[in-house]
């Protein structure tokens, strides 16, 4: 069985807030902010590796990302979690791609890999929060998708997944190949140990550029992106209001009641 996991390297949001926002403009200064594997993608990688570990047959897990050369670091992390191979899609021509263009390039790389029974993605990346690339890939390679899965059972030729929806879960059965996006709760991603980390360091990471894929260059990067950003601005930072100290418990309860009444929440 062949499994492909699509991941993304993102800036660590907790560091962003801690480290630097420009005091004048309030925008993020990313310089010096560490990058991490998108947290949702760790659930995707972990699940793929668990499927491999549970399986009696041979399972091959390939992790793939599109990004700048330093995204290699994120791929190494996934290798240390137990992925077998890693492919980095890196080319200046890919830069500035929106979700449609990104989904297309990833799909074309997956076609080049050729063999896939399951494709995993994180539900969304924590920088853009779009959740659009997974479905876009699935459409491009004409396979079904199950988004937001929090439980997976792999059978011989099909899978049964629990899809987290508003107020419950859908239990969905699907023939392979299928693309699934992972939510938190699917598993507990492992923290790689020393041996796994050093082993991952010695593995080769395959790099593919635009010329390595059979691409329609009109669908790639900036020119392949229907959407463009026309303005970026900082939202007005929410200001804290009244901080109330020194009330008795009764007074505090009455104060909350008063606020709720004022806000017509009662």
């Amino acid at each position: 069985m062949d499994i492909i996991v699509c991941i993304k390297q993102v800036p660590d949001i907790s560091e962003i807030a801690k480290v630097k926002t420009d005091p004048k403009t309030g925008t993020i200064i990313r310089e010096g902010v560490p990058s991490v594997v998108n947290p949702f993608d760790e659930f995707a990688v972990e699940e793929a590796v668990r499927v491999k570990e549970r399986s009696e047959g041979e399972v091959n897990v390939t992790v793939i990302t599109m990004g700048p050369p330093q995204a290699e670091e994120a791929l190494r992390k996934c290798l240390s979690m137990g992925a077998d191979n890693a492919i980095l899609l890196s080319d200046r021509a890919f830069a500035g791609g929106d979700t449609l263009a990104t989904g297309y390039v990833l799909a074309m790389a997956i076609k080049k890999i050729g063999a896939y029974d399951m494709i995993f993605c994180g539900q969304q990346a924590t920088d853009g929060d779009t959740a659009q690339v997974g479905p876009s890939i699935a459409e491009n390679i004409h396979i079904p998708q199950i988004t937001y899965i929090n439980k997976l059972e792999v059978q011989k030729k099909k899978i049964v997944a629990h899809r987290e929806i508003e107020g419950g879960v859908e239990v969905i059965e699907c023939r392979m190949p299928v693309l699934m996006t992972a939510v938190k709760g699917l598993n507990e991603p492992r923290i790689p140990k020393y041996k796994a980390i050093t082993k991952a360091l010695s593995k080769e990471i395959v790099v593919w550029g635009a010329a390595d894929l059979d691409l329609d260059m009109d669908r790639v990067g900036l020119s392949g992106s229907p959407t463009n950003v026309v303005k970026v601005f900082s939202p007005e930072a929410r200001q804290g209001g009244q901080k109330i100290q020194g009330l008795t418990y009764d007074e505090a309860a009455l104060k909350i009641l008063e606020i709720l009444k004022e806000e017509k929440a009662l």
Binding site: Q132, I146, C174, S225, A252, A265
Partner: protein, 395 residues
């Protein structure tokens, strides 16, 4: 194609350096210099530059043919088991405003099985026309048949704009359709408007967990599509005297083409409502101490007609289920009132709730970061204050 600095024009004013949300712009020898490894071509620098020294060339790409034929605003009417989702009405309210600005019609596409009875509600909330795709294969939401139905209606009736709710359904469906018909899609918008000069849809959305906002347009492809965050737009007052035109659109769906099948739907056993829908959320964090203490939050949620949420710490401790988690790896909520109990307010939590209308925080620690976003911060012991509050509410 690409982005570059015209060195001769650059005055070294540094405005672009400050504007770049990605730290990709630096001054080198007093001239703006782009670090292409970090640049996402978001355009913030070109926006900030007053000397036209930064140019972004967008290749022609293909674009949609006969773009001028696309007119009107269409809303994806999301129903489950014959019951309309509230966000569909919110979209109709917002869609009405956009359609009126354009001087064009507002339509709704309604896929489902035996859902004709819902059309009157769509007219009452502002739709001029409803395209009904009634088919037994659309009885419950599945990506493929729904994408087929909606894409067929789009292809036939050519709306300029299509709006979906940013629900698990909308966020599953819309990107699939976007890839199928090759158009742009902007996720989880919190603001929509029409550019008065070009008539293009201006889609504003948060990124980086709400640390920056971006306004996005889709100039060369149609329709321009957005998913819209639930509860941000106002639901209009229904007017059941409004009339509209019902158009039944037959769409061929081969059941054999549907590869995924819903075996069952398990409703989560919860004594309170869902946080996505709730007007009032009572959320508990690490300070709640253990799972049993969430009982008082449930009681409070029930007394206020709300739902119980939890911070990541409380979920990771196993006190509450992940479906209740608010924040980066959980849900983004914007209720009328958010009461944070024993939540310190890590940034991962704040990004999920800081757009709530009113935030009340109760925490023992006067320095807890949650107080930086709370309208009212009560410094005190949750275990004492909540029971008193419940007592008062009973009176």
């Amino acid at each position: 194609m690409g982005i570059q600095v015209i060195i001769e024009k650059c005055t070294g004013c540094k405005k672009c350096v400050l504007a770049c949300p990605f730290g990709a712009m630096q001054l080198v020898d007093k001239k703006a210099t782009i670090n292409y490894d970090e640049c996402t071509v978001c355009g913030a620098c070109a926006n900030a530059c007053e000397d036209d020294a930064i140019v972004i060339e967008r290749g022609a790409g293909k674009g949609t043919e006969n773009i001028e034929q696309y007119k009107g605003v269409m809303v994806f009417a999301e129903q489950h088991a014959g019951e309309m989702k509230n966000c569909s009405y919110e979209l109709l309210g917002e869609g009405r405003k956009l359609a009126d600005k354009l001087g064009q019609e507002l339509t709704a596409v309604l896929p489902g099985s035996q859902v004709e009875h819902l059309t009157k509600d769509l007219f009452a909330h502002g739709a001029d026309k409803v395209y009904l795709v009634d088919n037994e294969n659309l009885a419950s939401y599945m990506t493929d048949p729904y994408a087929t139905a909606v894409a067929a209606v789009i292809a036939k009736y050519k709306p300029a704009i299509v709006l979906y709710g940013a629900t698990t359904t909308g966020r599953d469906l819309a990107p699939r359709i976007a890839a199928r018909i090759q158009t742009g899609l902007t996720a989880d918008c919190t603001g929509l408007d029409i550019d008065p000069e070009t008539g293009l849809l201006l889609q504003t959305r948060p990124a980086f967990g709400g640390n920056i906002m971006a306004t996005i347009k889709c100039p060369r492809h149609r329709p321009q599509m957005s998913t819209v965050r639930p509860k941000v737009m106002k639901k209009p007052e229904p007017d059941y005297s409004r009339q509209g035109e019902l158009i039944k659109v037959p769409v061929e769906i081969n059941p054999k083409s549907i590869k995924a099948k819903i075996l069952e739907v398990i409703k989560e056993a919860k004594s309170t409502g869902d946080i996505e829908e709730a007007e009032v959320i009572i959320a508990g964090g690490w300070g709640m101490g253990d799972a049993t203490n969430f009982k008082m939050l449930e009681d409070l949620a029930n007394a206020l007609g709300g739902a119980v949420g939890a911070s990541r710490a409380a979920v990771d401790a196993g006190w509450m289920s992940h479906s209740c988690q608010v924040g980066q790896t959980g849900k983004t909520v914007c209720p009328k009132v958010y009461i944070a109990c024993g939540i310190s307010g890590a940034v991962q939590h704040l990004v999920g709730m800081q757009t709530s209308d009113l935030i009340i925080a109760i925490n023992k620690d006067p320095d807890a970061p949650i107080f930086n976003v709370a309208n009212y911060g009560i410094v005190g012991d949750v275990f004492q204050i909540i029971p008193k509050l419940l007592e008062e509410l009973k009176k």
